[in-house]
Every structure is written in structure tokens, then in C-alpha cells.
């Protein structure tokens, strides 16, 4: 019957998921049995006692024993199911003390993750296999809900509050996560990928932002240039929440046509937007603020890996 579980439930990404599925499948078979206990008599009686003109029906008003049985029986069953559900839920509620902590900020309509070392990603997160991970979550605007179907966990994310969720992933590879509390226009687009890495890959991800960037810098595939990697980084670390690439003004200046131009600063000076200026603006954004914009950009010192900085410079250069 494993095919039935595999058809009805998402892939199992943790031991907890297996426990939940066992409860689910048990309730499923119990429900099938109880449904047949109702449906079969209904159909059988309708046929067996079908209408005959003039037949007199017995005057059965009640039967105390029978009624006590079908009141107390379901009650006992329900008490049992309640405690079974409580048992699994306690595990979901209490995160182990040694969990790695990742903070989550949800907003319309993207996910920001921050690792213990301060590095950040958007809609894309890597976690190590077989180690508990705890997510501490809050929202910048409306309600959201962090839902990882493969781990069988979800919890609402509430503005002005912190909520938590945790799991221990046991299956390597990508798992979807998605928003499960209605949050407006792009609610259904608010999803991303959680990748479970082995320890080596995870250490590499933390150190260099993963290995996929190497493909963009080795020159073997002409379709993958450093600028393409910069574009991925631009979306992944959230540059796009303040900088556009089509010339429209957002919270920060657009990147279109910046590279190589003379930029007017708010102190009346102007500066050539070369590679040095761009790197400085990432690491020490308050040093030179563009005219007409507020000094609101946080520093990305230590948050952007060298390969990400290189990619971003190449990407901005490509937008000349």
C-alpha cells in the first residue's frame, strides 16, 4: 500500500514526515472502514426494505444499549486519536537545543533568510542533512505561512511577532517551500527551494555561496557568463528589492547604464562609476550616496561572497 501513500502525500523529507504519514494513513483506513459502515447499510436497507404497498413498519423508538454503544464507542476512539495526534504535535512544537538557527523574514511576496553568520539569501536556502534546523520567523507586512510539504510542517508568520518551526531533514536534494496563508496578489508565487546538502557541500555553500557559480566562471559553457551569475545573485540576495535594471527609480538608483558613467552625489561631487566605486558601494554604501536618494542601504560587508561580488560587478557592467 506504499504506492497509495506515495500518491496521496508529498515525498518524505524527514523522519517526522514518516511519522505523520503513518498517522495519516491509519486515519485514512479507519475512515474508509467507518464510511463503509455507514454507506453499506444505507444502500442495503434502501434495497432490502424497498417499498411494498401496505407493509406496516415496526415501531422501534429507541434501544438504550445500542445508543450507549454508539455514543461511548466513538468517544473512546476519539480520545485515542487525540492523544496520538498530540504525541506527534509535541515533537513539532519543541525544537532541539542544538538546532542551527535561521531567521526568516517574509514580505509580499518573497522570503529572506539569514544564517547565523549574517549571510542572507532570498527564496533559496541550503541546510545540512541530518541536523535539526530551527527557523525563527517574522513578517514585514501581512500574514504569511512557511510551509515545507516534504517535511510536513507549516506555521503562520505574523507581523510584530516571532514564530518558530523546525525539522531535521534526512533526504538530500531540493524540496519546495511555499506560502500557505493568503497574502494578496502574488501569494501563489511566493515559493522557493530548500536544498538539503551533505556536510561538505553545506560547508562550501556557507563559505562561497555554493558551487554553481564555478560553472559561470570557468568559461566552458558560453551560455554561462559571470554576468549571468551576477543576475542570479541580484535576485537571490535581494538587490532587486531596491535596484531596478530597466532605468526606473526605486528605493535605490537603477543599475541600467550606471557602469562607466559619471554619477552625481548628494554632497555635490561626482564620481566615475567604475569597478572600485561599485565594490565600495556594496561594502560601505554610506561613503558615496547618489544624489536624490536616502542613505538607507545596509552594508553587505561579509555577507556577499567574493564570487558574488565579482558576479554583481560583471552584471552591472553588462547593463551599460
Amino acid at each position: 500500500m506504499d504506492w497509495l501513500r506515495a500518491w496521496m502525500m508529498p515525498p518524505q523529507g524527514s523522519e517526522f514526515a514518516k511519522e505523520i504519514d503513518f498517522v495519516y494513513m491509519s486515519l485514512f483506513w479507519l475512515s474508509v472502514a467507518l464510511f463503509l459502515m455507514i454507506a453499506i447499510p444505507a444502500v442495503y436497507f434502501a434495497w432490502r426494505y424497498r417499498y411494498r404497498p401496505g407493509r406496516v413498519t415496526p415501531h422501534q423508538t429507541h434501544n438504550t444499549l445500542l445508543e450507549v454503544i454508539w455514543t461511548v464507542g466513538p468517544l473512546l476512539l476519539c480520545v485515542g486519536i487525540f492523544f496520538w495526534g498530540l504525541n506527534g504535535w509535541m515533537k513539532y512544537e519543541v525544537a532541539p537545543g542544538e538546532s542551527m538557527e535561521i531567521s526568516v523574514t517574509a514580505k509580499q511576496w518573497l522570503w529572506q533568510f539569514e544564517y547565523p553568520d549574517g549571510s542572507r539569501t532570498i527564496n533559496d536556502i541550503h541546510v545540512p542533512v541530518n541536523k535539526p534546523v530551527k527557523f525563527t520567523m517574522t513578517s514585514e507586512d501581512v500574514l504569511h505561512d512557511f510551509y515545507v510539504p516534504d517535511m510536513r510542517v507549516k506555521h503562520d508568520i505574523i507581523p510584530g511577532r516571532y514564530t518558530q518551526i523546525w525539522f531535521t531533514p534526512t533526504v538530500l536534494g531540493p524540496h519546495n517551500f511555499t506560502c500557505a496563508e493568503y497574502c494578496g496578489k502574488d501569494h501563489s508565487g511566493m515559493h522557493g527551494i530548500l536544498t538539503v546538502d551533505n556536510d561538505t557541500d553545506f560547508a562550501k555553500w556557507m563559505e562561497t555561496g555554493g558551487t554553481e557559480w564555478e560553472d559561470y566562471f570557468n568559461g566552458k559553457d558560453p551560455k554561462k557568463t559571470p554576468a549571468d551569475w551576477g543576475k542570479i545573485t541580484y535576485e537571490r540576495v535581494g538587490c532587486n528589492s531596491c535596484h531596478t535594471t530597466d532605468g526606473t527609480k526605486s528605493k535605490g538608483p537603477s543599475w541600467k547604464g550606471v557602469y562607466g558613467s559619471m554619477v552625481q552625489l548628494n554632497n555635490g561631487m561626482s564620481v566615475l562609476a567604475d569597478e572600485a566605486y561599485i565594490r565600495e558601494s556594496m561594502m560601505n554604501p554610506q561613503a558615496k550616496v547618489v544624489k536624490g536618494f536616502d542613505p538607507i542601504m545596509p552594508t553587505f560587508q561579509g555577507l556577499l561572497k567574493p564570487n558574488q561580488q565579482n558576479g554583481l560587478v560583471a552584471y552591472i557592467e553588462s547593463l551599460k
Binding site: 422501534q60 445508543e67 510539504p149 506555521h155 507581523p159 496578489k185 501563489s188
Partner: protein, 549 residues
């Protein structure tokens, strides 16, 4: 020894009175100013069924949008904003304009005083006021759709509902007005049941329909005021930013959910108890057998009403309420299963050794038993804490509550409509066609909503415009099912309306029912009975006369 009631009771009725409630006075004005519960019931029927049609159109649009990931509707692209409005209007119209007022306002308004042997409800003018409030609420709700748009979902969760643009304030004001309509109806029924029972009719001589509707009325007057207060706070929050629900100005969004479900969970029982009320009439009548466990059924209705007030937190297991509250609400939620089970078992035992004919209303009643069983059993998955974490906010929940709200309540409503149609209009509908609609309904309903359980358990969240490609086949299946439902409802409308074209032909008691509404003419005279009926037997007594005396 002649049985009291057989199909032969259809012939040999008293001569039909020339004047009845339909033709005693004529003209639109006589309807608009009527205080006759039967006419108000008919007006409510027309109104709520129109709302059902409108909500149904939105349902078909929602399903059609989800047919393929391309989201094309008759060649036009549906945007995410439009889709969000579709499901919001579908939910809001179906809940507030259709299901909550439908059975109480229409069928109950019509038959409850008749069943009690009364001339009218206790407060006839209040009854008319309730209908006009419904009209005002409906006009406001529809205006909010025409003037602007609402995209909050029918639950109006904060802080999205306090910050989104659109006509949310007008829509919530409409729901506020509709709430008072519901309170007036409930108040009226409670007073009527207490004061206007026929001589000889004690509390345990009332038909079970009345017990269920009495329980419904209790919820209507006790829970609806909380919804009113909540919506006023929501409107104040939107307009004046008073800081009740919005965390940026010191409020708490979870508080809104507590307030909202404190009404809206009991409201689920405002919806399902009237369905159970109808089924408790249909099954004894078409089984020609007394109801099994009358007192247990009556107590089950009242206890469902009471339990409905203490389980609202089960909507919020992952919403940020305290862990202790979550555990307590889960435990209390399981209590719902007990009276629900008692009812189902009693209905089944009533059929045992009965004399069962499968006219259209009985086919709907048997459909109800099965669909309600599925709706109830899938509730166990959601009441169980560990599985709810995975299933809540997915299509599993959507399927579950459609099995209860639509598969149970609407099925019972249609069955009841066929059942009392001869009494209300004086016309018999085409039986064979009616039976066909019931079969199509059952198939269409399951085709639409069974796949949604699988969608949900596989991780498809609700209120989603886009979905992963792997979900497309099940979505397509569900959409085709919605067309079958549409076909069945269209046929029901045709079958019932076609019967109005012929002269009055319905006997007083076409089904051999034992409750008092069958003792008067079809359609009844304006004052319901020629003389005050006196109750002699317990309800649902199908024994031959010789035995009872």
C-alpha cells in the same frame, strides 16, 4: 387493519380550498408588505437561490481559471488579482448571502409555524424586517463588487484586510447588516417555538426539524453579535486606524482570528444543523417508520449547538495561538464527532426494517448520509494535531468544508425543496427527472471535491492562482466535476419551474408525512389551518390507527 399512511393517502383528500396564501391577495405590493411567514419564506427562497446562482457562477469561474496553468477564460487571460476576487466573492456570497440565510429564511420560515400548528411566527413584522435587512445587505454586497473589488477572502483576515485597497469596508458593512437579518430570524424562531406550539404539543412532541432549527436559532442570536462587533472593529481599523488588529499601530492580527472564528465556527452549525433538520424529516417519511432515538436526536442537536461555541480555536492550530489553547481546542473538537455520529446511526437505524421508497427527496437524503460521512470523517484528520499541521490551509480543508457545507447542507436543502415543493406551490414536479438530478448531483459533487482531498494532502495550498504542474490533472478533473454539478442544479431549476406551468395537482399529503404541515391543504390557506390542530400522537407515528388508540 388499515395502515394510517400509505401512498393511497394521495387520493381522497379534502376538496382544495379556492383561496390560499398565494391567491388571496394579488399584486407586487401585497407581497412586499406581507407579514405571512409563507410569503416571506417564498421571497427568501427566491432571494437566496439568486445568491446561490451568483455564488455558483463565481465557483465555476474559479474552477475554470484553474483548469490549466495558462489561466485562460474563454480566451481571455485571468490575472492573479481577478482570480483573488473570484474566490473572495464566491466565498462571501455563498456563506453570508446563501447558506446562512437560506434554509432558515426560506424552508424553515415556511414550514416551522405549520409544523407547530401555528398561524404564523411569533413576530410577523420582525420576520419581514429580517427579509428586508437581507435585501439591504445583498444590495450593499453587490454594490461593493460593482463599485470596486474585494480580494481578502471571505475571512477578512487582518492585517491584509485593513491595508488592501478596494471596497472591503462596504463589504464588511454588508455582512454586518446581514448578521442582524440572521439575528432577527433566530429570535423569531425561538419565540415561536416557546409560545406557539399547538395544544398538546410538548417539547418532545415537536418534529426533530423544529429541534434542529431551535438549536440553530440559539447560535444565531448568541454568536452573530460577536461577528457584528468584530466587523465594526475591522471597519474602524480601516477607516480610523485605531490599532486593534494592526501590529504596526499596537494591535494583534491573531485577535481578529479569535473574534472571527468565535462567530464563524458556530456559523458552521448555523449551516449544518438546518441540513440535519431536513434529513430528520425526509428519512422517517420515506422509510414510513418512526424516527429511531428521538430524544437522543433532539439532545444531539442542542449539544452540537453548545459544542460549536468551544471549538473555534481549531481553525488556528498553526496561527500563533498559545500551545495550551491548541491542545484544549483539539480535545474539544473531537466532541463534535459524538452527537454527529449519534445522528447518523439513528438515521440509519430508522431505515432498518422500514418501507423505503426512493423518491427524489429520499435520494438526496441518502446522498447526504454518504457525503456527510465523508465530510465528518475527514474532519478527524484536521482535528488531530499532528496531521492538521500538514493539512491545514491546503485543498484538504477546502474539500472537507465543501463536503459539509455543500455536500451536506446544500444536498439537504435541495432534498427539502423537492419535499415541500408540493406544499409550497400546490404542484407535483416530474418525479423521474427529479431522481435523475439527484444522481447527477451525487456524481458531480464527488468528482469535484474528492480530487481536492488528494491535492491538499499532496501539498497544494488553498487560494492559489498558480500551481505546480504535477497538480494539473487533478485540477482538471475537479473542474469537469463542477460542470456536472452545474448541470444537475440547472436541471433541478428546470424540473421545479416546469411544474409551475401546470394547474395545481398536489394532494395535501403526497408523501404520507406525519407532521402537521401535511394536515393542511397544498398550498395552505393564509391562516394555515381551517381550525386549530390538536396533537394526539407522538411525532413520526406510523403505527396503524387501531394500535395507537
Amino acid at each position: 387493519m388499515e395502515p394510517v399512511v400509505t401512498r393511497s393517502a394521495r387520493i381522497g383528500d379534502r376538496p382544495r380550498p379556492k383561496k390560499n396564501y398565494l391567491n388571496e391577495t394579488r399584486g407586487v405590493w401585497s407581497w412586499m408588505t406581507t407579514v405571512d411567514h409563507k410569503r416571506i419564506g417564498i421571497m427568501y427562497l427566491v432571494g437566496t437561490l439568486s445568491a446561490f446562482l451568483l455564488g455558483g457562477i463565481f465557483a465555476l469561474l474559479v474552477r475554470l481559471t484553474l483548469l490549466t496553468p495558462a489561466h485562460k477564460l474563454f480566451g481571455m487571460q485571468v490575472t492573479a488579482e481577478t482570480y483573488n476576487r473570484f474566490f473572495t466573492l464566491h466565498g462571501a456570497i455563498m456563506v453570508f448571502l446563501f447558506i446562512i440565510p437560506s434554509i432558515p429564511g426560506s424552508l424553515t420560515n415556511f414550514v416551522l409555524p405549520l409544523m407547530l400548528g401555528a398561524k404564523d411566527v411569533a413576530f410577523p413584522r420582525l420576520n419581514l424586517a429580517s427579509f428586508y435587512l437581507w435585501v439591504v445587505g445583498a444590495v450593499m454586497a453587490i454594490s461593493s463588487m460593482i463599485i470596486g473589488a474585494v480580494d481578502t477572502g471571505w475571512t477578512f483576515y487582518t492585517p491584509y484586510s485593513t491595508t488592501t485597497s478596494g471596497t472591503v469596508t462596504l463589504m464588511t458593512a454588508a455582512v454586518f447588516v446581514l448578521g442582524f437579518s440572521s439575528i432577527f430570524t433566530g429570535l423569531n424562531f425561538i419565540a415561536t417555538v416557546h409560545k406557539l406550539r399547538a395544544p398538546g404539543m410538548g417539547w418532545f412532541d415537536m418534529p426533530l426539524f423544529v429541534w434542529s432549527m431551535y438549536s440553530t436559532a440559539l447560535i444565531q442570536i448568541l454568536a452573530t453579535p460577536v461577528l457584528g462587533i468584530t466587523l465594526v472593529l475591522l471597519m474602524l481599523e480601516r477607516v480610523f486606524q485605531i490599532g486593534i488588529f494592526d501590529s504596526r499601530i499596537g494591535g494583534d492580527p491573531v485577535l481578529f482570528q479569535h473574534f472571527f472564528w468565535f462567530y464563524s465556527h458556530p456559523a458552521v452549525y448555523i449551516m449544518i444543523l438546518p441540513g440535519m433538520a431536513i434529513i430528520s424529516e425526509l428519512i422517517p417519511t420515506f422509510s414510513r417508520k418512526t424516527i429511531f432515538g428521538y430524544r437522543a436526536m433532539a439532545y444531539a442537536s442542542v449539544s452540537l449547538a453548545l459544542v460549536s461555541f468551544i471549538v473555534w480555536g481549531h481553525h488556528m492550530f498553526v496561527a500563533g495561538q498559545s500551545q495550551l489553547a491548541t491542545v484544549i481546542f483539539s480535545a474539544l473538537t473531537f466532541l463534535v464527532a459524538i452527537p454527529s455520529g449519534v445522528k447518523v446511526f439513528n438515521w440509519l437505524t430508522t431505515m432498518y426494517q422500514g418501507n423505503i421508497s426512493l423518491e427524489t427527496p429520499m435520494l438526496y437524503a441518502i446522498s447526504f448520509l454518504m457525503l456527510f460521512a465523508i465530510g465528518g470523517l475527514t474532519g478527524i484528520f484536521l482535528g488531530t494535531l499532528s496531521t492538521d499541521v500538514h493539512l491545514t490551509d491546503t485543498y484538504f480543508v477546502v474539500a472537507h468544508f465543501h463536503y459539509v457545507m455543500m455536500g451536506s447542507t446544500v444536498t439537504a436543502f435541495i432534498g427539502g425543496l423537492y419535499y415541500w415543493w408540493p406544499k409550497m406551490t400546490g404542484r407535483m414536479y416530474a418525479e423521474r427527472w427529479g431522481q435523475v438530478t439527484a444522481v447527477i448531483w451525487f456524481i458531480g459533487f464527488n468528482a469535484t471535491f474528492l480530487p481536492q482531498f488528494i491535492l491538499g494532502s499532496r501539498g497544494m495550498p488553498r487560494r492559489y492562482y498558480n500551481y505546480l504542474d504535477q497538480f494539473q490533472p487533478l485540477h482538471a478533473f475537479s473542474t469537469v466535476g463542477s460542470w456536472i454539478i452545474g448541470l444537475s442544479l440547472f436541471m433541478t431549476a428546470a424540473v421545479l419551474l416546469a411544474s409551475l406551468r401546470k394547474p395545481a395537482d398536489a394532494p395535501d399529503n403526497p408523501w404520507g408525512g406525519t407532521t402537521l404541515e401535511w394536515q393542511t391543504s397544498s398550498p395552505p390557506i393564509t391562516h394555515n389551518f381551517e381550525e386549530q390542530p390538536v396533537l394526539e400522537n407522538e411525532p413520526y407515528d406510523y403505527r396503524p390507527k387501531a394500535v395507537t388508540h
